[in-house]
């Protein structure tokens, strides 16, 4: 476990402006990540090569490209196909969550999330991801 790489850079794609604001405080100020917050899939995909996130958080229901579509685009990129992708969704039904996991998501966090513990949750997901790889 000691040789697990620290999670530093994460990207969050979310269309809801107010949630973007609170999430940025939760992830950057509270959890101390280097966070890139994007308003849609196009913005996220345009900056992924420069920012090089180690993990991506995705909202599910978004206008234009939705979460699952963005996941597929990221998984199609050689450099990022292995990185864990986590959905953050207001769709809280068990069958919805199961469907999202089947798409290849590492984990699913439901809204409303607790901004004080969001970072810890993501670190746990990160560690589990690396442990399962070893």
């Amino acid at each position: 476990m000691s040789d697990t790489i620290e999670l530093e850079r994460l990207m969050y794609i979310e269309d809801e402006p107010d949630i973007r604001l609170v999430a940025e405080i939760a992830l950057a100020q509270v959890a101390g990540f280097n966070v890139k917050i994007c308003k849609d899939g196009n913005e996220g995909l345009a900056s992924i090569n420069d920012f090089k996130p180690q993990l991506v958080l995705l909202d599910v229901m978004m206008p234009g490209m939705d979460g699952p579509q963005i996941l597929n685009k990221i998984k199609a990129l050689d450099e990022f196909k292995q990185i864990p992708i986590v959905f953050i969704t207001a769709k809280a039904q068990a069958e919805e969550i199961a469907k999202l996991k089947k798409l290849g998501a590492e984990s699913v966090i439901t809204k409303p999330f607790n901004p004080m513990t969001l970072g810890d949750n993501i670190r746990t997901i990160w560690r589990n991801h690396h442990e399962s790889k070893q």
Partner: protein
């Protein structure tokens, strides 16, 4: 020609006829001995002339007739009691090879030179009998089929009169054949088809224009007990002995229709359940979204993540406040939808004058005008237009239409409100010159949780339920809510409602 020549000529002519006809001709003496046979008779029985002449004719009959023949002949000669002479009948013949066959026999008596003689004309009817047998068998099979098939078979004449019905048709319609035969087939149809049937038939016979003949279709049948039922009918046309006839094959499909109806209603229930499930999932999603902003903002402040006196704290409180409003709007709209769908929404209808109602609408919705920097203007409204509505509910519709018009208008533009008498109905219109509704979205405008650009939901603070609710409210008033919209040029929404007596009596119409 001498008389001898004439006799010879007649004889040779007669011989030629007898030699060439297909029927066998055999003459016998009064002792039953064969005197002459023609070639056809040789052929029929398989004997040569030489083998027959002088023999007892009974050799051409199988037992027991063979042994009885002499007795018959003697009896006739003694008593004059004819059994067969002068009467054609069907008997059995015996060929030289011992085989038997049916033949038609006609015997005549004559006297030649004082001697009684008998001429038998025989015709081999094996083939005819065979054909008859086959026909009988075919008829029996056809009858068995018609008697046992589940479909009703009815034949009618070209005048529409019933000629035959099979047992299934009797059972389907509840009549016996004798109650149907000779009656017009239209008795098996309810009105208006009954009244129209003769005309259809006449029309077909005179013009050849087919409405149903040759084409199966679903029609309604009438049973003897007066009940009606769905039936599948196929009609074909045929000609029998130069007469046109029609055969109708009818199948009672009541049970099938019932199963289909049950299936349809089961599918509808499943579909309704799916819609309900989707609605619940969407409602859950829509409620959780503002709740996420509210809860996270407050938790960040309460959790001490930021300084409570900082501008960031103000921003978070503002987010929580704004999203609380959004949540409240959403909850109200969802409650309205739930009331509408369970038909529990109360309407306190009363006669109201349209003009002051619209003036109030403009006054009450000034906040939207101010927020979106537009101006609401009452363009026209005849003074004494009256409608019978629940004013609070209709005001809810006006607020929805006016806030939409304001949201999607350009700054400093005018939103026109008007009312008019259109063909005896009252039309209230809300017209903006804003961005309009995209063409591909226009057929979904009244659906639940829809906005042309889903990001509008966030920017413009709508729930995506307003127009759905408005339409339902207007429809509960027996009115219609419609629109015309040109992308880039603006939208016009129309509420059409019945005009109440008050308006008509006062005779006010649009100028």
């Amino acid at each position: 020609m001498s008389s001898k020549d004439a006799v010879n000529d007649l004889l040779s002519r007669t011989k030629a006829i007898v030699d060439t006809i297909v029927d066998g001709v055999i003459t016998i003496s009064d002792h039953g001995l064969i005197e002459t046979v023609n070639p056809a008779a040789e052929n029929i029985f398989g004997y040569s002339k030489e083998e027959l002449i002088g023999k007892n004719v009974s050799m051409l009959m199988p037992a027991p007739y063979q042994h009885e023949h002499d007795g018959y002949l003697r009896n006739y000669l003694n008593t004059g009691n004819k059994k067969i002479i002068g009467i054609g009948r069907e008997v059995t013949g015996r060929r030289s090879d011992g085989s038997t066959f049916p033949l038609e026999l006609a015997i005549s008596e004559m006297e030649v030179n004082g001697q009684r003689m008998f001429t038998g004309i025989v015709r081999d009817i094996s083939q005819r009998k065979d054909t008859e047998e086959k026909l009988r068998e075919l008829l029996a099979r056809t009858k068995a089929i018609l008697d046992t098939i589940v479909d009703g078979v009815i034949t009618i004449s070209d005048r529409g009169l019933i000629e035959t019905v099979n047992p299934a048709a009797e059972k389907i319609f509840g009549y016996k054949l004798d109650e149907l035969a000779g009656k017009n087939v239209s008795m098996l149809m309810p009105n208006p088809y009954r009244a129209e049937h003769d005309q259809y038939l006449n029309n077909y016979l005179s013009t050849g224009e087919k409405k149903i003949i040759g084409i199966g279709r679903e029609v309604t049948g009438l049973r003897k007990n007066g009940s009606t039922f769905p039936l599948e009918l196929a009609i074909s046309e045929m000609e029998v002995n130069g007469l046109r006839m029609f055969t109708g094959i009818v199948r009672d499909i009541s049970e099938r229709k019932e199963t289909e109806d049950q299936l349809r209603s089961a599918m509808r229930r499943v579909h309704e359940q799916q819609i309900k499930d989707e609605f619940i999932a969407t409602v859950s999603h829509e409620l959780r979204t503002p709740l996420t902003s509210i809860k996270a903002s407050l938790e960040l402040i309460i959790g001490g993540a930021i300084d409570k006196k900082s501008s960031q704290a103000d921003m978070l409180i503002n987010i929580a406040h704004k999203n609380s409003d959004r949540l409240l709007l959403l909850i109200n709209d969802i409650l309205d939808i739930s009331k509408i769908e369970s038909e529990k929404m109360q309407f306190n209808r009363q006669d109201i004058r349209v003009k002051p109602f619209l003036e109030t609408a403009i006054f009450d919705n000034q906040a939207y005008a101010k927020k979106h920097q537009v101006k609401f203007v009452l363009k026209q409204c005849p003074d004494s237009l009256y409608i019978n509505v629940d004013p609070d509910r209709l005001m809810q519709v006006m607020s929805n239409l006016m806030s939409n018009a304001a949201k999607f208008s350009h700054h400093d533009s005018i939103v026109e409100i008007s009312a008019d008498n259109i063909n005896g109905s009252v039309r209230i219109a809300v017209c903006d010159k804003g961005r309009g509704i995209p063409k591909d979205f226009q057929n979904r405008v009244f659906d639940k949780f829809t906005q042309a650009d889903t990001s509008d939901k966030r920017e413009i603070n709508g729930t995506g339920l307003g127009l759905h609710i408005s339409k339902a409210i207007v429809e509960q008033h027996d009115g219609t809510l419609s629109f015309v919209s040109t992308p880039g040029k603006g939208s016009e929404f129309y509420i059409d409602l019945s005009m109440t007596e008050g308006s008509a009596q006062q005779g006010h119409h649009s100028e």
